[in-house]
Amino acid sequence: MSPPIKIIGHPVSPFSHRVEAALRLKGVPYELIEEDLSNKSELLLAKNPVHKKVPVLLHGDRAICESLVIVQYVDEAFDGPPLLPADPNDRAMARFWADFMDSKLLKPFWLAHWIEGEAQKAQVEEAKQNLALLEEQLKGRRFFGGDTIGYVDIAACLLAPWLSVIEEVTGVTVVDENEYPALRRWSREYNSYEDLKQCVPDRDQLVAFYNERKEGYKMFASAWLQQ
């Protein structure tokens, strides 16, 4: 009998969602401990002293940090449909594209929506180049993983539940339906995927959350641009 699984996370965080998605796809029950992102708890600081961030997976007395490390742990520690493909080269490609999301796409994609002026143009340009690479990767498949959601789809979840929310809150659209038809279709498929229904965040709640903190997110984006 496996010890209880808990996630220190937050429904508004796509990184936290990655972990929920992985557990749902494996059919593993868990409890989400919702962290106050503006006031970090003793628990979070104790379980992730290095980065002090969500998500953290608690599995009995084990703590695992970094969303993609956690997703790979979930794939290896639990039975259920595999999240990564079987072939070593395909696995390397999946890891590559998941890493691409975080190391190349995330920053320009985020900044393109939240900052303004001349600087925004450069971010949009970079985001579009990287989005084009992802569009090509879909190659007419339903998901990056093929017929079912897998590791890369989970890694790319920012482009699913969060995409139309960010567009509505900021009034900016980068992932144009005409330029990225496969990505937009993928996004809709992800959002309506049966096995993930219970962990796809409520759209109205997400919109309200970002709207309430719009100025804060704009300031954060300006600071991130300078780094």
Binding site: I64, I70, Y73, R91
Partner: protein
């Protein structure tokens, strides 16, 4: 060691790259022979651009012509494609594997960038980089704990991820006015222990050579 057959492995690399060295060390630890192809990064080859169109960076592993990019992904690929060779990620222990991935990711996120700021910046930026470098090294020493290696008794994934940077310690020390031996004696001892391994001794350049390389870069970028 396998015979003369090269298992169709090629490594596109650049001599001083610690990321490339991770792959060289992993290949040697596994007893895998390969063809080393030094790349001219100022004038990137068609082969490199075709093999890594997304990042256009080394290292790239070619296995029977199929490319694998990103050093830690390459090391994991070698574990999975050659399961009969000594495993670098602990086999059959998902939690130990997760810990190893976490710390290798920490090295990737923190060390190289901080080191670069240490030799590039002056004033407040430099002071900040120095403080961060000491913290990073101390954090890594904490992760090492009392073990011979990061994974415990066996040289493994995190050791491979970090050991190339030991050649850079001298550079960090000189530009940061710090001493790894003094700040992190256990880490310094671990570095010495790793240096005794043939795979490491063969593939790392002497620290003075790395320092000389960085001084050359500084001149080229006009940083004094």
């Amino acid at each position: 060691m396998a015979g003369e057959k090269k298992q169709g492995l090629q490594l596109l690399d650049f001599w001083v790259s610690p990321f490339g060295q991770r792959c060289r060390i992993a290949l040697d630890e596994k007893g895998l022979s390969y063809e080393y192809l030094e790349q001219d990064l100022a004038n990137k080859s068609e082969l490199l651009l075709r093999a890594n169109p997304v990042h256009k960076k080394i290292p790239v592993l070619l296995h029977a012509g199929r490319p694998v990019c990103e050093s830690l992904i390459i090391v994991q690929y070698l574990d999975e494609a050659f399961p009969a060779t000594p495993a670098l990620l602990p086999a059959g222990d998902p939690y130990a594997r997760a810990q190893a991935r976490f710390w290798a990711d920490y090295v990737d996120k923190k060390l190289y960038d901080c080191g670069t700021r240490l030799w590039k910046l002056k004033g407040d930026g430099h002071a900040q980089a120095r403080t961060e470098m000491v913290e990073i090294l101390r954090t890594l020493e904490g992760a090492l704990g009392e073990g011979r290696f990061f994974g415990g008794e066996a040289f493994g994934f995190v050791d491979v991820a970090l050991v190339p940077f030991t050649s850079w310690f001298l550079t960090y020390e000189r530009f940061g006015d710090l001493s790894v031996e003094k700040e992190c004696p256990k880490l310094a001892a671990w570095a010495k222990r790793c240096a005794e391994r043939p795979s490491v001794a063969k593939n790392l350049y002497p620290p003075e050579k790395v320092y000389e390389f960085i001084c050359g870069l500084k001149k080229r970028f006009g940083i004094e």
